[in-house]
Amino acid sequence: MSNPASSLPAPASEQIRKPPRYNSFRLQLRDNLAWRILAAVVLSMLCAAALIALSGHNPLTAFAAMAVGAVGSPHQIGAALNRTTPYLLAGSGVAMCFRAGIINIGAEGQIAVGGIGATAVALIWPSALPELAIAASLLAAAATGAVWAGIATAIHLGRRVHEVLATLLLNFIALLLVKQMLVRPLGQFGAGFLQSPQLPAATRLWRIPEVDAHFGIVITVIIAAGLSFVLWRTRFGFALRVAGNSRPAAAYAGFSLPRLTWSVMLLAGAVAGLAGGIEVLGVHRRLIEGFSLGFGFKAVTVALLGALEPMAVIPASLFVGLLEAGSLSMQRQIGVPSALVVVIEGLTMLFVLAATVRRV
């Protein structure tokens, strides 16, 4: 049996660092953290600029084209906001999971099945109750997303499979499930490719007229704010944060780790499922295959960029949304492949990870 002291740090004398100067209730280094993340973003943009220059283009004109493509017109801003919405929703859910120490990368699958749920309800919703169509579809989306996350949680907790593998493998299965659904129950007979019939007009998400974006962005900002409130101002959020810091401490504090895991996973699944529903109702107006591709990793990206704080995930996902919206016109006008945006995202994440490691 090992000495309990073997899990203690070296005597306290060796662990004292410079004394701090904070009095706020909230945790350490929040301002410092923001600067570091900003530095990471700038550094990755510089690397991207180097890549652009190496291939013979002018980085400044490329970035200018990207900016114009992102915010050049109200319509383009709307497109950027539409892109931001699923990233923000899924990202804030993932951020909550990461805070609790659970690495949930199943957002992609949860979004996909959320789309299935929304489509199914939208198609069968009686036309006599148009007012409730949107709410019902979105509720179904959230519920299916939660169920999908629940399956991963059951496997993880019940059979002690690492949550990364469980959620990841379920992503692949979910994508295939969407395709299968589009063959039989939800498919549009006679269409050349896999898609569902167009959803009834009653399920069309309200639009914000000036920028031609759908209402989803408003819903998601409210939800992100709500999640932040839960994280910092409720007992549940406190329990999550303790669990993410130290599992033994959470057990000692009287929190039930399985119950926390279930709660946060179902929450994240519901939120991601909702994102899927919003995509289907607001953007595509039908279920199409592969509509959720890549969203899971984007969720992790914006969660990290936002330092796992749902309120900060708002600007982070906006940044990513703008980047992507602008990258297409950059590709059209300057010829720099839009895949550069993915490179920027990857580099930014790497630099953020390196810069924001908390010392033990």
Binding site: N3, P4, P11, A12, S13, E14, I16, Y22, Q28, T234
Partner: protein, 495 residues
């Protein structure tokens, strides 16, 4: 004759704390030097500097005539210094011979396992170590594991062995065996530095003693002719152990009643503790203490038996239910269990009580009263930090432990279970913890004080039980304590 090792003017600081403040040390071949000092006196730091695990701020080290500077353990070992760590640096999942061969060039690029196994057997026979090269380290008792570390030192032909608190994990018979092995090594001309805070062992084994206090050498003397009192005074500047003060009040009713409690790693155990009484549980670490204590506290499942607090059986209740029943728990693992190091003082003070007032109203947390409460506790328990928002990992071990104690005691518990409550604390902080135990006793609570430090147990306990091999080997009231008998009880676990 030149010394085997000469350390001069070693200085090493951690922030504002001077762990070593100009220390000189000499060791000769064929000599066992005792390095004596309280927790926090700088012994471990000095040895880490010697072994190359930490660089000194200033000072020189000359070993066998060559200077050692800016070195890593690899170079120290190549020069002939070996360190037997307090927390063994072994790979549990591997065999003895694999552990010996690790990072040792002589074992060859392609491992010469058979040759090495033969050498292990030979050295083991010669020094009486009784080690089987193909045994898995995980299957060895702690005393044998320590011998694997010694074996490594011997095979690498170390001339100087440093043993850091080597007896903290051993039963009395194992300790005797270890001392025999060390004398054999001395006879072969090795130099040995024996680090300890236990006076009797140092007096029994060592040729010369150096005493450290607050980072400085406070005394140096050959063992022959030195008295216990003299050395104790050099160590702490005061008498080492306070005598036990019996309680001034009458004992109350039984508040904690444990019957036939058993689970993986211990049992069955039975004990009764009354209000206003401290039951000390002594014993060598690794005899089922952590399993017992965590089963009491609700962190491990109970196999059989009952735990009754004030007539409420909590054996199968949750941690939260036990707290409601009046149980407080101070875990041994301060850094990862008792505290969340990255959270603030205030958040740690409310760690176990976040579901009721003053910290919460319904599902929501309330800030104002929480901060006020934190300030109140910080004042009452003298927790030194710049504010309630200070992150706990910046605090000293003593202040961290004060947070744990403050939190548990503020609940005015019926029962307190404390495990290694003064571990790794400097004398001032240790005094604080022990005083609070006594104060809690005066308030009428039942205290179970589990510790491997016999002096602490002797000082504050009204009754002492000894745990060995997961059972109580014996129990005695403090007034009738016979140290020899306690040693025999503790030795229930053989090497």
């Amino acid at each position: 004759m030149p010394s085997l090792l000469e350390m001069r003017g070693i200085v090493r600081s951690f922030g504002a704390l001077r762990a070593n403040d100009g220390v000189d040390l000499d060791v000769q071949s064929g000599q066992i030097l005792g390095l004596l000092g309280e927790n926090g006196s700088g012994k471990s730091t000095l040895m880490k500097v010697l072994f190359g695990m930490l660089p000194p701020d200033s000072g020189t080290i000359v070993f066998r005539g060559h200077e050692l500077s800016h070195h890593h353990p690899a170079e120290a070992m190549a020069a002939g210094i070996a360190m037997i760590h307090q927390h063994f640096m072994l790979i549990d999942a591997m065999t003895v011979v694999e552990n010996v061969m690790l990072c040792w060039p002589q074992a060859g690029r392609v491992l010469k396992t058979a040759d090495m196994a033969a050498r292990v057997r030979e050295a083991s026979r010669r020094f009486g170590l009784d080690l089987d090269p193909d045994a898995l380290v995980a299957s060895l008792p702690l005393g044998r594991r320590q011998r694997v570390e010694i074996l490594k030192a011997i095979l690498r032909e170390a001339e100087l062995l440093i043993l850091d608190e080597p007896t903290s994990n051993l039963a009395p018979t194992e300790i005797a065996d270890l001392l025999t092995i060390l004398r054999r090594l001395r006879a072969e001309g090795k130099g040995i530095i024996f680090i300890s805070h236990k006076l009797p062992e140092v007096l029994e084994l060592c040729d010369e003693v150096v005493v450290l206090r607050d980072g400085r050498v406070s005394g140096r003397a050959p063992v022959a002719g030195a008295s216990r009192a003299q050395l104790a005074h050099m160590m702490v500047g005061r008498d080492l152990v306070r005598s036990h003060v019996p309680p001034h009040h009458a004992l109350g009713a039984v508040r904690l009643s444990v019957k036939d409690l058993a689970a993986a790693g211990f049992g069955p155990l039975t004990l009764d503790v009354r209000g206003g009484e401290i039951l000390g549980v002594a014993g060598v670490d690794g005899n089922g203490q952590i399993e017992f204590v965590e089963a009491l506290a609700g962190l491990r499942p109970v196999g059989a038996g009952t735990i009754v607090i004030d007539r409420c059986d909590v054996a199968h209740a949750s941690v939260a239910a036990r707290m409601r029943a009046g149980m407080a728990y101070i875990p041994a693992d301060r850094s990862a269990t008792a505290l969340v190091r990255r959270m603030s003082v205030a958040e740690n003070l409310m760690l176990r009580d976040s579901n009721h007032s003053p910290y919460a109203k319904g599902p929501l947390l309330v800030r104002g009263p929480a901060v006020a409460k934190a300030l109140e506790l910080m004042a009452e328990y003298d927790i030194r930090a710049s504010g309630p928002g200070t992150v706990v990992m910046r605090l000293s071990g003593g202040n961290q432990q004060k947070i744990v104690v403050a939190r548990e005691l503020d609940r005015a518990p019926a029962v307190l279970v404390a495990h290694q409550a003064a571990w790794g604390l400097d004398p001032g902080a240790t005094r604080f913890v022990l005083d609070r135990m006594i104060a809690l006793r005066a308030a009428g609570a039942a205290v179970v004080y589990v510790s491997s430090e016999l002096e602490e147990v002797l000082e504050i306990s009204d009754r002492i039980a000894v745990i060995a091999n997961g059972r109580f080997a014996g129990e005695t009231p403090r007034a009738e304590v016979d140290l020899r008998q306690i040693g025999i009880w503790m030795a229930g676990r053989a090497a």
